[in-house]
Every structure is written in C-alpha cells, then in structure tokens.
Symmetry: C2
Subunit: 196 residues, 2 copies
Amino acid sequence: MNKLRGRPRGNPPTRARIAEAARGLFLRHGYRGTTLRAIAAEACVDSALISYHFGSKQGLFGEVTQLQCAESLALSTVLAGDPAGLPDRLLRAVTDLWDDTEFNRLAVQNEDVMRVFREYLESEVLGRIAEYLGGPDATERAIAAVTVIGGLIFTRYLNPLPATARLSAADVHRILGPTLRVALQSRPRYALAGRR
Amino acid sequence: MNKLRGRPRGNPPTRARIAEAARGLFLRHGYRGTTLRAIAAEACVDSALISYHFGSKQGLFGEVTQLQCAESLALSTVLAGDPAGLPDRLLRAVTDLWDDTEFNRLAVQNEDVMRVFREYLESEVLGRIAEYLGGPDATERAIAAVTVIGGLIFTRYLNPLPATARLSAADVHRILGPTLRVALQSRPRYALAGRR
DNA sequence: TCTCCATATTCAATGTTGATGAATAAATTA
DNA sequence: TAATTTATTCATCAACATTGAATATGGAGA
C-alpha cells in the first residue's frame, strides 16, 4: 500500500488482478465473508480502486459470477444428440459441471435460511418419506422425490423463475405430477441390462 | 428511547415484542435489509437489548425462522392416505403451504447469487430446452425438467443435503434418470400424443 | 422487611464495513 | 506541447453490529 499516488507507469492489468483476487476470496469465504479491504489487500491495491473499477461490491461479484456462468454448461452439446438420450446427457452435463469446477463454491451459503431449510428437508421430509416407502431402495426413491420437491420449492418460491412462479397451483400439480410419481417408483436395479 | 435506565417496572414481555417486530421486518425487507436499529425502533427498545436477549442478529433470525419451520407442512396428513395418491398429496401440501403462508417470504433473497442463477436458469436452461422440445406443451415440459434439474442443483450443490450430496454421479444418474425422462415427456391430456 | 445478587434496560463507545470526494500522476488525444 | 481522460492513493463518511459500563428493578433468603 506504500505505493505512489496517481496513475502508475505502464498499463498494468490491475482490474483483472482485482477480479482474480476477488474470485479466489469469494470462493473461499463466500460473499459476505469477503470484504473489499481483503480483496484490495490481496490485489495490493487501495480498496477505493474497487469501487472505481466495478462500481460496488455487488458489481464486482456480478462480474466474477457471470463470467463463471458463461463458461458453464455447454448446452449445445447436450442438445445435439437424439431426444431419447436427452435426460442422460442433461444429467451428465449438470453433474460434470458442478462436480468438477469450483462453480458450486460460488454459492454463497445463505448462512441463515439455507441451514434451517436444509435440516428441515433432510431430517423431516426425506427421512419420513423413506420411512413411509419402506423396502430396500426407499432412500433412493425418497432422494428422487426430495429432489423434485426441492426443485419446485427452489424454482417457484425461494428463487422464483417467472415461468414457474406464475403457474397456478393446479398447473403445477398437472405438470409435475407424473414426474414426481416416477421419482417415487421403485426402480428394480438389476432386473434389466439397459444402457448407460 | 426517552425511557429511563435500568430495569423497567413490572415484567413487560419485551423479548417477545422484539421477536414479533423482527419477524415483521424480516418478512418485509429480508435479512440484510433489516437492521437491528430498525427492529429496536419498531419495538421501542435500545438496539443493544437485542444482542443481550438473542446474542446476535443471526441468533434472532434463527429463532424467528425456526418458529416458522416448526409450523410448516403437516406431513402426517400427507402420508396418511394410499400410496397411489401420494404424489398429488405431496404436491398439494407443498403448494398449499407455500402459496398461503408468508413462509416463502422469509427466504432471504440472496441478492447476489440468486439473481444471477435465476436469470441463467430461466433464460438459458429453460428457454433453450423449450425451444429444443418444440410443440404445444414444450414450455410445460421444460418447466418440469427445470424443476428436476433445479432441485438437483439445489439439494446437491447449492444447499447440499448429506444424503444427496454423498451420492456418486453415477448414482445420481441412475436415481434421477427415469424422473427426468418423465418430466420431459409429452403428457397428452386432451389430445393424442405426438412426439416432438 | 432488609440485603444481595441476578436480570433487564439505556447509554456511550468501538471496530468494521462499503462508499465517496479530493488530490495526484500517468496515458492519451488534439 | 497543451488539454483531457484515466488510474490510483488518501482521508473521510455514515451505517452497522456488537460490547462494556452504568443503573434500576425483581426475586430469594435472612
């Protein structure tokens, strides 16, 4: 920080260095856990420079995050093949992306709601559904069901997508009913060879 | 504020009043948008009293939130009937709960990640899937698929449930494949099925 | 009833935080 | 070369959550 005032010599890529430092810190400590001063220190820069370049902390975060989103999930490949294999390809794309990159770590743990909601979903909903179903694959069926339900809650309420949120309850029932029914079905594992 | 120092006469339920005020403000303005000072003002109390009673802002929020969770989703009723009707009853319970109560408003909009993620899910994933599917009910099928995918992302990555998160990618594919397949299927209700 | 301690409350201060405006120096343009 | 635009530091701000000190009441035991 003991640098000179005024514009520095050359055209150092300071802005990029800030974004890089921010990305690392956001990944490690989440949004709230990362202060502008920490980013500035990491980038060896005065913290005011961040506001200058990115407008605000949210602006910086948005830029760093959107960069990640742009790189993510190459949908073209997924949508290129035959319709029959689409489910598999979609699932594979999602898990490949999220398992391998650091993208998921950008998910700021919303330390408050998220924890409560997770515990509730896990112990109450999932546990009791599995108990109700019984049988050897009860847990797996419950997981599938919780996924659909969690997806509904997430895309309709927690973080409403307009297309989903503006449906009536009846439409939601009609559209998701068959899906949830299949999720809850027992899927005999070794009965059929099937392809992967 | 112009009150006397020291313990007040009688045993006024100040703690409860604070919780009540906090609940209202959290509902209206979310977690970050609600300051301890605002809660204190609403409850006609010094803001230091909140730290005294609840330890911290998070402590207060946790108490208010957990109260809501306890009241929510009467699973017993859902699990009481015949297995065949379970999907419908589950869906109904979820939508009834979340449509009618204020519970969903406690979902602190994680103003940062959530917005980006929502826009991405809506415009990229949902839009392109619907475009790919084509046909009259493409949007509905895309919504169902996005729900499953969003549920997977949410319960496995964003807010990982242990049971779901510790699965291998292959297990995820196996368990959710049939579900997603059905979500993507055309569901002819009033007309004959035509693929694609 | 008197004494003491735990409890409830206000007040004042502290240390962070994100942001802003002024000063300054290099780059760029005319 | 002169003027303007851009990049940077410094000093400061207001808001925030939290903490410590001061003070007054409630309740338990004599």
